[in-house]
Symmetry: C2
Subunit: 196 residues, 2 copies
């Protein structure tokens, strides 16, 4: 945490005062950020960390629901999810998203409770952002793909198969929504990393 | 630009040296970023600005192609794009994306050439990021939606209609890819805005 904040507080020691002089005009040298600014920043970062964790936990719940609902959606005859590539795709992405958000939630809970991080802070921020963003794109893609097929089926018959499919699509969409928000937070975290 | 960089170079004047003292240990007060660090930062920001503009221009090209190819995809009988909701959706999103990327490209070219910005810097960064991200999500959604229908048609017949549809889907996907990269850049810009 202090290493991270150090970016804004500590000027790099290799710079001489003369080198930066033209840009340092009009300020008293030696005045740093106030303690209130620093604690405000800490509080915001803590909030963001908890927010990111919460959103990933919600995404885990929704992907798990989408996975379970779609995987149990077999009612014989034409009403088997695995007869349709759209539903198989949705199931695959739901499983992927469940695994990803599960691992991420565990990792962040472990980090919050022990205070130790398994990865370097920068690597962790990068993994978080890239993962969140890619899984969010996959989830929106999978749920959009399954919508027209379900719509068309519902025009013919409205039964437990189409209802379960719609429920799984809805869950995948909600999972997308939480992961997209989590990606916002992790993108912000990544951008405020020093020397990126 | 100088207002933006000021965030990292100029400490706020209301802070007393004592208040931040505990976090300022182990550094000589008054040493700022070197000129080389500042010009490096400027050069990087200039590169990011041009990169964002270039990516949006590429996205404009691809969305325009998707729009034109899909809108001219009428060959009579069952081979009319407007008989299928997936293709109508893709057309709508391609039009939306063309308009958005067109306006954004014009705005940024105007900004680069005159040096004047139409919006405040923070508003502009926010509009860029939100717009890029939403249009990217819509494009991936629209192109994923149209894929299974096209696949299914191709199993029956492989003609100019299915080929044009595939081309439009491919263009929309490439547009999504450039806008997703543009969203990365604008998200980074937004996060490095002061006092967000």
């Amino acid at each position: 945490m202090s290493e991270h904040d150090g970016n804004h507080v500590t000027p790099p020691p290799m710079a001489t005062p003369e080198a930066g002089a033209s840009d340092m005009e009009g300020q008293t040298p030696g005045t740093g950020f106030g303690a209130s600014a620093i604690t405000r920043r800490w509080r915001r970062e803590d909030l963001l960390k908890r927010g990111g964790l919460g959103l990933r936990a919600i995404a885990l719940l929704f992907s798990l629901l989408a996975f379970i609902i779609m995987a149990s959606n077999k009612h014989g005859d034409w009403m088997d999810f695995d007869k349709y590539e759209e539903y198989r795709y949705l199931l695959a992405i739901a499983i992927l998203s469940t695994l990803y958000t599960g691992v991420q939630t565990l990792r962040h809970v472990h980090e919050l409770s022990t205070g130790k991080s398994m990865l370097q802070q920068r690597t962790s921020a990068l993994v978080d952002f890239v993962g969140d963003q890619i899984i969010a794109y996959l989830l929106i893609s999978a749920s959009s793909t399954a919508i027209p097929l379900t719509n068309r089926m519902r025009r013919g018959a409205d039964n437990i198969f189409t209802d379960s499919s719609s429920a799984a699509i809805g869950m995948a969409f909600l999972g997308f929504f939480s992961l997209a928000l989590a990606a916002l937070i992790s993108g912000h975290k990544l951008s405020t990393q020093p020397y990126l």
